[in-house]
Amino acid sequence: MSNHQELLTGWGNTAPSLADVVRPRNEEEVTTDLQNAPGSLIARGLGRSYGDAAQCAGGTVLSNRGLWNLTPIDPLTGLVTVGAGVSLDELVSISIPAGWFIPVTPGTRQVTIGGAIAADIHGKNHHVDGSFMNHVRSIRLATPTGTLTITPESEPELFWATAGAMGLTGVVIDATVQMIPIETSYISVDTERFPNLDATMAAMASGDDDYRYSVAWVDCMTAGASMGRGVITRGDHAPKSMLEGKQTRHPLSPPASTKLAVPFTPPSGLLNRLSIKAFNEAWFRKSPKKRDGEIQSLGTFFHPLDGVDWWNRLHGHRGFLQYQFVVSDAHGDVVTKAIELLSSQKVPSFLAVLKRFGPHNPGPLSFPMKGWTLALDIPIGPPQLAGVLDQLDLMVGEAGGRLYLAKDSRLSPQQFRAMYPQLGEFERIRKTIDPQGLLASDLSRRLGIS
């Protein structure tokens, strides 16, 4: 094993594969790496995709962390040009003090700009603001046939094909992003607990539009009348006038850095049906029945898990997976059926995240579309799990829904094709910039994306 080879997995710690890792520091070096790659190549950021999207068995993995230029944010327009390897954490640490916030943030700040584009990440504001690519104004993209600057106006096809394509259209060098102005680094949060899934979903359908940010945590392990009981947290950026006491002295403070870490991987099985059930129960009970106008820091509201480094290790050596799907509003019943199936098949799942999406953007592989999305966090281990998820795939596919590629680690090529009807269009566009199919990942091979 040569010293630049690394055994890589996604955040779920499943299906490791070996690749040559290169770390270019600028556009020229990216071009050289693309030209010199002996086989396939894929870019990788902070490795937060759960499955095999940023792995390339037997090929080259290009770490984008050396692509690190960060110019000051334009104080008039809020536009910022950021290197692909800059993480959202690093970006907000300079943007918040200047009064700007990222337009879209997922549940972690440990995502690079390149990764945010590759997954076309979404956050709690999708129903209002859309996904990350809706806020990207231009991308410098290195492809096997040349490096170009793409905007939604100049290269609409390639620009949107890059949204959610998990790196298969090229290596992002940098991107210009439209930031949003904030008065404070706090969110005014309303929290409400609901006794079952129907009540949770009804409250979201009727009330979400009053808030910029909204999400529900749902308990998938309680059967019967309390099945799918949930806690909805919704909020908006707090204006200065809402701050009190110490907060007023530093209204724009960047999130604190991590204090805790999981130092090693405990045996699998630590998180099992019993412990997960107990956790869900405790969490539900500690949530207030109803509380309005609580002032929370951005970090607490958006990124609760960023408080613990390497929390993925808690799932043990066998790893875990995330199953996230979206179905249209008309097929909201699939959410209920999915939770029923998991519960009846005794599949342990941590608190699931339920959210309503706004309209789909033009990206053929971009995940979000108008409707409901449910994200489940499941440890690998129960022998029935693979089959149960295959059943879920069918339900989601038949309802015209789809799975999120940034989370996927086990979908079949047939189901993938059924879920992404615009795949043919994507493959046609991809061929124009990568006719040889140099850009490939374990995910693209597994799903048969050409």
Binding site: M1, S17, A19, I380, L411
Partner: protein, 254 residues
């Protein structure tokens, strides 16, 4: 590619008419496997098995004829198998082997040596040829069918048992050597399985049919276990077998 459950999309079977192996592959085809290469000695048996797998939904099934009595062909067999699979293979199932008749083997030096060639020398040559392929590929999974008979050899089938003991031991070191490259290697130790290989023989204790044995093996392939026992109960039985004093061991019914 293998997915998060370790389910392979492409499989090579060395010993492609092995009932246990085919029963395992049938189950893998029902999950994610699309491409299968069956390599073995008997062309008509291979063709029949290939057709069955196609009927069960496998997209591409190729056959490859070789004889395990000639270890010098192993490199060529592996090269051809990868070609037929389209360049990469997620799982290699090694099911080459014969039982032999111990009563005859007792007085047949050539026969005893030939059994070692088929059951041990050829698989060792093939696994060695396989090694660099899997390292280049950057991922992979090898599962080797050994036997409970190799855990402690018995009078009744010690030549067979010794070949499997050798293969088992080789595989343990082979597994360690491939771990840093992300290649998973597992040893399968079945007990007595009612197949054509054991046809006409009286059932040994803890006998199983092919179906249940395949179920156990498929479950094991998705697990991180280094050894898959079939039936799982044999793990405990083997512990007792190993620790029995020789005097008692020789008195065990055979």
């Amino acid at each position: 590619m293998r997915n998060a459950f370790g389910q392979p999309q492409s499989v090579l079977v060395l010993g492609g008419t092995s009932e246990i192996a085919l029963s395992v592959v049938e189950r893998l085809v029902a999950a994610r496997t699309q491409t299968v290469v069956l390599a073995g000695r008997n062309p008509s048996g291979l063709d029949l098995a290939a057709q069955e797998l196609r009927d069960k939904g496998a997209q591409s099934v190729e056959t490859l004829v070789f004889d395990a009595d000639e270890p010098s062909n192993a490199q060529g067999v592996i090269d051809q198998a990868f070609e037929k699979a389209g360049g990469s293979i997620d799982l290699v199932l090694i099911a080459v082997g014969q039982l032999g008749d111990q009563d005859l083997l007792d007085n047949d030096p050539d026969g005893a040596a030939a059994l070692f060639t088929t059951n041990l020398t050829w698989p060792v040559a093939a696994m060695t040829a396989l090694r660099s392929k899997l390292i280049t590929q950057g991922s992979g999974h090898v599962a080797v069918i050994a036997s409970i008979a190799g855990v402690r050899v018995r009078r009744a089938n010690f030549t067979y048992g010794a070949t499997k003991a050798g293969l088992d031991a080789f595989t343990q070191g082979y597994s360690d050597s491939l771990k840093p490259y992300g290649v998973k290697v597992q040893i399968i130790r079945p007990g007595f399985v009612r197949t054509k290989m054991t046809e006409g023989m009286a059932d040994a204790p803890f006998s199983t049919d092919v179906g249940p044995a395949a179920d156990t093996i498929v479950k094991g392939l998705s697990s991180p276990a280094s050894v898959i026992w079939s039936p799982p109960l044999l793990q405990g039985v083997a512990l007792v077998m190993r620790s029995l004093p020789g005097v008692l061991w020789r008195k065990m019914p055979s």
